[in-house]
């Protein structure tokens, strides 16, 4: 018995860790098919497809979801473009204050969110924009905290890029613009895409900073937080499951592409 256990210890521990990680996710998927007996019940009372068929039964939830998606896409777009440009500047151009800029870019990541959120609120109010709190202030806040992550990701990708590749492109008759679009950009692109995905999930997820700067608007995390006090609709689990499937699809596609590429080579 002990010998049997000793041989399988690593496997069992591994399975334990996997269970620890995946049980909460499994609960979300399971609950998306739940038919609760009462609004305030946290138990699985019966199987139904009703939640999936009527995702927007609670219009407020879908409204909050729509807001989060809009903000997520816009914040990702702006932060990725600005952050990529900043990343290039920090690696490729020597300017006064470059080293301090490199250091300061970490500050928004290191600072506690509650500090960032409250100081941003103070700033908006002090600037006389307290009446304007809402979509635009949320967007500004999200771009702000996503930016650092994009800069850091793009910068490290670019710093790892061998600059003789660009010299080789120039040597092979590529103009500076062609060198950028045919060599530099494709090689940095995985870093940019990674940064964009990270930005979106940071933005979609954010509660603390958003809560402080949202005025009368409600994002999806804020809606869920509010709903838990009165009984959360089961459709929240449907949204959670869809998000999960989406992330899985991204990962699996990435893996398939690289595997097919590898197989084509052999």
């Amino acid at each position: 018995m002990t010998a049997w256990l000793r041989e399988r210890m690593v496997l069992l521990l591994g399975l334990g860790v996997l269970a620890y990680t995946f049980v909460p996710i499994a609960v979300v998927v399971l609950m998306s098919f739940n038919e609760p007996a009462a609004r305030n019940v946290y138990s699985f009372d019966g199987f139904t497809l009703h939640n999936w068929a009527n995702i927007c039964e609670d219009a407020a939830m879908c409204e909050a979801l729509g807001l989060s998606l809009r903000i997520g896409f816009l914040a990702t777009l702006v932060a990725t473009v600005l952050g990529t440009l900043a990343g290039f500047a920090l690696v490729r151009h020597d300017f006064a204050g470059r080293s301090s800029a490199n250091l300061l870019i970490f500050l928004p990541m290191a600072a506690p969110e509650i500090v960032l959120g409250s100081s941003l609120l103070t700033l908006f109010v002090a600037a006389g924009a307290s009446g304007l709190l809402g979509f635009w202030t949320i967007l500004i806040a999200h771009i702000m905290f996503c930016l650092s992550f994009v800069v850091v990701t793009v910068r490290s990708r670019l710093a790892g890029l061998d600059d003789t590749l660009e010299q080789a492109a120039a040597d092979l008759y590529a103009t500076p613009a062609q060198t950028f679009w045919r060599v530099t950009f494709p090689l940095v692109l995985p870093g940019i895409l990674g940064a964009a995905l990270l930005s979106f999930s940071l933005s979609f997820d954010d509660f603390i900073i958003t809560n402080l700067n949202s005025g009368n608007e409600t994002t999806f995390p804020m809606y869920v937080w509010g709903a838990y006090r009165v009984g959360v609709p089961m459709q929240v689990n449907v949204i959670g499951t869809i998000m999960l499937l989406f992330s899985l699809a991204v990962v699996v596609t990435g893996e398939l592409v690289s595997r097919r590429r590898r197989r084509a080579l052999v």
């Binding site: 080789a168 120039a170 092979l172 062609q178 045919r182 090689l187 084509a264």
Partner: protein
């Protein structure tokens, strides 16, 4: 191979060069008073003049920091010269940017594009210049370097030697006026390096392009190039065919960097048109005047170790030679094809002697008294003011 129309069309309008000198007019590469001084004051290349005829294979040989790579990068357009001009195929290209020059480079680390397959790597230059028949040209080039079966692989899937050939193919396919090779064999193991040396030389002869090769490996330079320029401290110490450089070095640096040399101090006794006689620590020796590269009354008498014969005391080694008695063997290393001796001379200096193992002479042992001899025509004489140890370590560290 004549310059095709698409080779000339490198994107930018080619400025006419009315001031092309005699070196430029034959279509070769000409560097005039080329200097590169960095912002920190370091002069990498100093007032360098060099003519490379079209279709020739030149090697820039020297220790690291001698300016050979900087010179190559200035030709490629990757470094901007501080002063001086670069003329190629009759045109002044000094102010043209890298992508506007009919020059291609094989980089030291190959610099293959990792996101493109082998085919697209090789096609890169053709596509940028919008050349037609990319398909057939790339196929032919991949065949030349024997990589036609690997066309759809990525660089990371290939071995070092294969990557090296891709880098060569990617540059060659553009039929540049000059192909630059920046220590392209440094990362390969010895055996592969030797076969690639022969391979590159074969391709150069086949395509007939001008090659400029930068290396710190004297054997590589001598094996591959028609002409070797030995560089040291930002200047060319000596330029010539490999055999000429080896047999008749003009400076102690060249004498030591290319192979090994015994350099013995001597005082000039007389000078005629043919022969210069010197007093070498009490022994009279002669050196051809054509190989005496000093005007002073003293000089370094140089002789290569394999040109020195070794024999027992009083032996009749080689009648017309300079005979140097009184040596004592202080070290013997048997290396198979030859035996290498160190012989301590009466004036305290140890001379190197390489003796071929022909079987005609016996081996000597440490402590034996021996006599040395060499034919005067193999000796050379250098400026006494030069450092006798210049280039010694540089030549040995690979």
């Amino acid at each position: 191979m004549p310059p095709s129309a698409d080779t000339a069309a490198t994107g930018a309008p080619a400025p006419a060069a009315p001031d092309a000198g005699p070196g430029g007019s034959d279509g070769g590469l000409r560097l005039s008073s080329l200097t590169k001084r960095y912002a920190n004051g370091f002069t990498a290349v100093h007032d360098l003049d060099l003519d490379v005829p079209r279709g020739s294979f030149i090697a820039l040989l020297g220790p690291s920091g001698c300016g050979k790579t900087t010179t190559l990068r200035m030709v490629a357009g990757l470094e901007v010269p501080t002063s001086g001009r670069i003329t190629l195929a009759g045109q002044d290209i000094t102010d043209r940017r890298a992508h506007q020059r009919p020059v291609n480079t094989v980089f030291q680390n190959y610099a293959l594009f990792p996101h493109l397959d082998i085919y697209e790597n090789v096609a890169f230059g053709l596509r940028r210049r919008k050349v037609r028949d990319v398909e057939s040209k790339v196929r032919a080039m991949l065949e030349l370097v024997e990589l036609d079966s690997q066309a759809r692989k990525r660089p990371a899937q290939l071995s070092g030697g294969q990557q090296q050939r891709v880098a060569l193919a990617r540059a060659l396919i553009n039929e540049p006026e000059v192909l630059l090779l920046d220590e392209p064999l440094g990362a390969l193991d010895l055996k592969l390096r030797r076969s690639m040396q022969i391979e590159i030389k074969r391709i150069q002869v086949e395509v007939g392009l001008t090659f400029m090769h930068v290396t710190h490996d004297q054997e590589e330079a001598m094996t591959m190039a028609d002409t070797v320029a030995v560089m040291n401290g930002g200047v060319i110490e000596q330029l010539g065919a490999p055999a000429e450089l080896y047999e008749n070095p003009r400076s102690t640096f060249v004498a030591n960097f290319l192979g090994q040399s015994n350099l013995i101090e001597g005082r000039v006794l007389s000078r005629s048109a043919d022969v210069t006689t010197l007093d070498m620590h009490g022994i009279t020796v002669s050196v051809p005047t054509a190989r005496t590269h000093t005007d002073g009354d003293r000089g370094w008498i140089g002789i290569r170790p394999e040109k020195v014969l070794i024999g027992e005391e009083g032996a009749d080694l080689d009648a017309p030679g300079n005979t140097v008695p009184g040596g004592v063997v202080s070290d013997v290393s048997f290396v198979g094809v030859s035996t290498q001796y160190l012989v301590r001379m009466p004036w305290g200096q140890e001379l190197q002697v390489f003796s071929q193992n022909t079987g005609r002479t016996r081996m000597f042992t440490v402590g034996e008294k021996v006599e040395l001899s060499w034919r005067p025509e193999y000796a050379f004489c250098l400026d006494i003011n030069q450092d006798a140890a210049a280039g010694v370590d540089d030549g040995e560290t690979r």
